[in-house]
Amino acid sequence: MSEAAITDRDRAIFEPRITAFVCNWCTYTGADLAGTSRLPMASNVRIIRLPCTGRIDHLFVVKAFERGADGVIVSGCHPADCHYTAGNYHARRRFGVFRELLSFLGVDPRRLTFSWVSASEGAKWADVVNETVARVRELGPFDTYHRLADASAADGDPFAALEAAAPGAAPQAAGNDAALEATVGRSAR
């Protein structure tokens, strides 16, 4: 089942759910500034505050998607501004890799926003929020990921899978043969 099929759902009623992991010193404070400056922005983002982007684990992002997020924002201090001097540098490397990994496994990178938002960039935070919401609204709900567990409500039991006809269930196992010959070519070693 392709995402396209799902996103046919009427977008008017689709309100993206975005989970944001932000550092306490720059982005969270920047978001505070956006508030004190009364900058209106989409209400689709839920912020989780952490001391530093260095603390943000790739598992947070995975769990957010598992728990129904359609998009994720990771935001912290600009390079050289890190309250802890290097946390954001380490985060930049880990997420530089993880973003590629997610994309390779089929999570559209457009569902992820990484940004540097300083404590003085309230307006930039508003932009980051609005752009992300608009982009994810365009992509539609991430039900394919949210449903992965039901997908194998199949429970690896092909019979159940036949009934559920859910994506990824064992009957499609043969599917990748075709997919493979077509795309990945030779049988792997």
């Binding site: 759910r17 989970t19 969270y28 404070t29 978001a31 505070d32 500034l33 956006a34 508030g35 004190t36 009364r38 900058l39 209106p40 922005m41 209400s43 839920r46 912020i47 989780i48 505050r49 952490l50 001391p51 530093c52 260095g54 603390r55 943000i56 684990d57 947070f60 769990k63 957010a64 728990r67 129904g68 997020a69 050289a80 309250h83 802890y84 001097t85 290097a86 946390g87 380490h90 985060a91 880990r94 508003a126």
Partner: protein, 674 residues
């Protein structure tokens, strides 16, 4: 089972205008683990806080969530209130429904929904908050100051005057540093030694300052409040207690041809020597490198080749057999004030620097650097303060000054500006013109950078009153031409070549950190930049602190600094140290990392990423007590709570108090199906 109280603040109309606070309270009342949920006009007001305290007492709450403004605004307020009601302050969290909600949304329905989500998220987090205790670390209220230049002396004096003991370590035989070599200082042209010497003596005689000269820091263990420093006292060969500084030994010493470091090589000294008459302490050291006796011993001669100083010394203070000794000092804070060196641009260049052979420095005796000029100009200098050039002692009638030699030159030298050269060159031209009124002072410059109180006026005075000739342009070549020194330069303003037949040339060479700075930085686990200057913790907000808590920076070890800046930094470090010493215990935020030693695999990713060197390796022993592995340990005194170690731990064996995996997981989980 959690018993959480949720308190929703209207913030007058600020929140209530767009968020239906009553609805939030109703929604949260049904949330698992919530015991009370109420809204109120101003939670931060006194009655508001009373309301929370009463709820805590009446319902034996295990956690509190205040839905109001940003935690940056009032977290402290509410944590204090909860503490007064007998609740651990760290089980109190704020849900930001003002800055992050009511102030940025107009749709009442959406805003209220978001406020409810936010509140639920924080409630779920608080279910996993653990009571935390403020970390207290005992503080040894003694300080170590490394470097006895003006910065080190000032820091030592300020700390000692503040009532705490200071250990001052200087690698040279005397304190005083570069400032003691200067003749006059800008922008006032007052005599350098006249203002410095009293400070040196004051430091020497201060009851709370323990001075180690001819000594170096060998090893540094421990952490803020609890450093243990091993100091190498280099063999002085002179008993500091017996010696009375009479100077007979120096008068008697047969080897008298050794280039004087103090006079920047422009004069000669003896093997046993005090670097300069006002040296503090006024106790000589025996330079074993050049001493005839020790040369002999190194050759393996059966009988000592000399012994004159020992014979001369009436106090019997000379000891040829003394070795380096080590002392350990316990201190709570360390001030690094190791200062600078001038870029030696001669032909021999270490560490892959190119140097400036074309300027003839080191080959042409009358081409000297700024420090040598200071000695020439100094009343206590080799020429007694008369303007005499090194080669033949003649009075130079034309002196060329070249600025930015090795500075602002990424190609061949340093990319940074050495900052002090513009001012001291202006000073040099003045000193010269005052001594040789009919002489020419020609200055080649790139820019004149004279920011600072009275600085621009000073350099203008050099040009307008003392008639220094400033030529904007670089010098391509300097070479000997008979008894002249030819200077080929280019005037970029009039766009023509300039050739000057000079009698002497003064090069304003770049300011560089002291040799061996990298080794010292490693001992202190302080980082340094590509040029070797030590890194401050934050370029704007923490300019005199380092990333290693308890270690501070003063003067030119951090970047090129002039005297007033160095003194100001020294004062700043003293203020930091005195602040640290204001109590026997150092209080720290308890949100620090903790390693689960049972599941730690000892891969030390945490150690690699920790910006503060807070990770230590601990042995794991088997039942027989043999070391069978290593695990990481986070020193709570050093940890700053960034949590970078947590994210790189593959087995999730590190937790960050206040932001544990449990807490974050619960927050994410709370957002499911919003």
């Amino acid at each position: 089972m959690s018993r959480i109280g949720v308190f929703i603040c209207h913030c007058g109309e600020n929140i209530a205008r767009t968020v239906d606070c009553g609805a939030v309270a109703d929604a949260l009342r049904d949330h698992p683990g919530v015991t009370v949920a109420t809204d109120y006009k101003y939670m931060c007001s006194d009655p508001g806080q009373q309301l929370i305290k009463k709820a805590i007492e009446d319902n034996a709450l295990t956690g509190v969530v205040v839905c109001a403004c940003s935690p940056h605004m009032h977290e402290k307020t509410f944590r204090r209130a909860a503490a007064q009601a007998g609740l651990n302050p760290f089980v109190v969290e704020m849900a930001n429904i003002r800055e992050h909600c009511s102030w940025i949304h107009d749709d009442r329905e959406q805003a209220t929904a978001k406020a409810i989500d936010t509140a639920r998220t924080i409630v779920e987090k608080v279910k996993h908050n653990r009571p935390l205790q403020t970390i207290r670390i005992p503080v040894t209220r003694r300080a170590l100051v490394i470097g006895g230049g003006i910065a080190g002396i000032q820091a030592a004096l300020d700390i000692a005057d503040g009532g705490h003991e200071v250990v001052l370590v200087e690698k040279d035989p005397s304190i005083g540093g570069h400032m003691s070599q200067l003749s006059e200082t800008f922008p006032t042209l007052d005599c350098s030694q006249c203002i410095l010497t009293p400070r040196m003596v004051e430091a020497y005689q201060h009851p709370r300052i323990k001075l180690y000269t001819w000594s170096e820091v060998e090893k540094v263990d421990g952490y803020i409040g609890n450093f243990s420093v091993t100091i190498r006292k280099k063999a002085r060969s002179v008993d500091e207690d017996l010696c009375n500084g009479c100077g007979d030994c120096q008068a008697a010493c047969p080897s008298r041809r050794i280039a004087s470091e103090f006079d920047a090589g422009l004069s000669r000294r003896t093997a046993i020597y005090t670097p300069f008459p006002q040296a503090v302490p006024n106790i000589p050291v025996l330079d074993r490198e050049h001493c005839t006796l020790f040369k002999g011993r190194r050759k393996g001669l059966a009988k000592d080749a000399c012994g004159t100083c020992k014979e001369t010394c009436l106090k019997g203070a000379i000891d040829y057999d003394g070795e380096d000794t080590f002392v350990t000092e316990e201190v709570g804070a360390i001030v690094v004030a190791t200062g600078f060196q001038l870029y030696d641009i001669g032909r021999e260049q270490p560490e892959g620097l190119k140097g400036y052979g074309e300027y003839g420095y080191g080959d042409v005796p009358d081409v000297i650097d700024g420090l040598q000029f200071e000695r020439l100009a100094s009343a206590s200098g080799p020429a007694g303060g008369k303007m005499r050039r090194p080669s033949d002692g003649a009075e130079p009638k034309t002196v060329v000054f070249v600025k930015c030699v090795g500075s602002r030159d990424p190609e061949k030298g340093m990319s940074y500006c050495s900052k002090i050269c513009c001012m001291y060159t202006a000073k040099h031209t003045m000193l010269y013109k005052h001594k040789v009124p009919d002489g020419r002072a020609v200055v080649f410059y790139m820019d004149i950078r004279a920011a600072g109180k009275g600085y621009d006026e000073f350099s203008r005075r050099a040009i307008e009153e003392d008639g220094a000739e400033y030529i904007r342009g670089r010098v391509s070549r300097i070479f000997r031409d008979g008894d002249k020194v030819k200077v080929w330069g280019y005037d970029t303003l009039s766009n023509r070549q300039v050739v000057v037949d000079a009698d002497m040339v003064v090069l304003a060479t770049a300011v560089r950190p002291q040799p061996g700075i990298a080794e010292l930085a490693q001992k202190l686990s302080v980082s340094y930049d590509q040029d070797g200057f030590l890194n401050e913790a934050h370029p704007k907000l923490r300019p005199v602190e380092t990333n290693t808590a308890g270690i501070y920076l003063a003067g030119a070890c951090q970047a090129p600094r002039d005297i007033p800046e160095s003194v100001a930094m020294a004062g700043a470090t003293a203020a930091k140290v005195l602040g640290l010493f204001s109590a026997d215990e150092l209080e720290r935020d308890p949100s620090v990392a903790l390693v689960n030693e049972r599941t730690c695999s000892g891969c030390f990713n945490c150690e690699r990423v920790c910006p503060y060197g807070a990770i230590e390796r601990r042995d794991v022993c088997d039942m027989e007590g043999h070391v069978c592995g290593h695990v990481a340990y986070v020193n709570p005194g050093v940890c700053q709570g960034c949590g970078t170690c947590v994210a790189v731990c593959p087995s999730k064996s590190v937790e960050l108090a206040g932001f544990t995996d449990d807490q974050v997981y619960a927050e994410i989980n709370a957002l499911a199906g919003w």
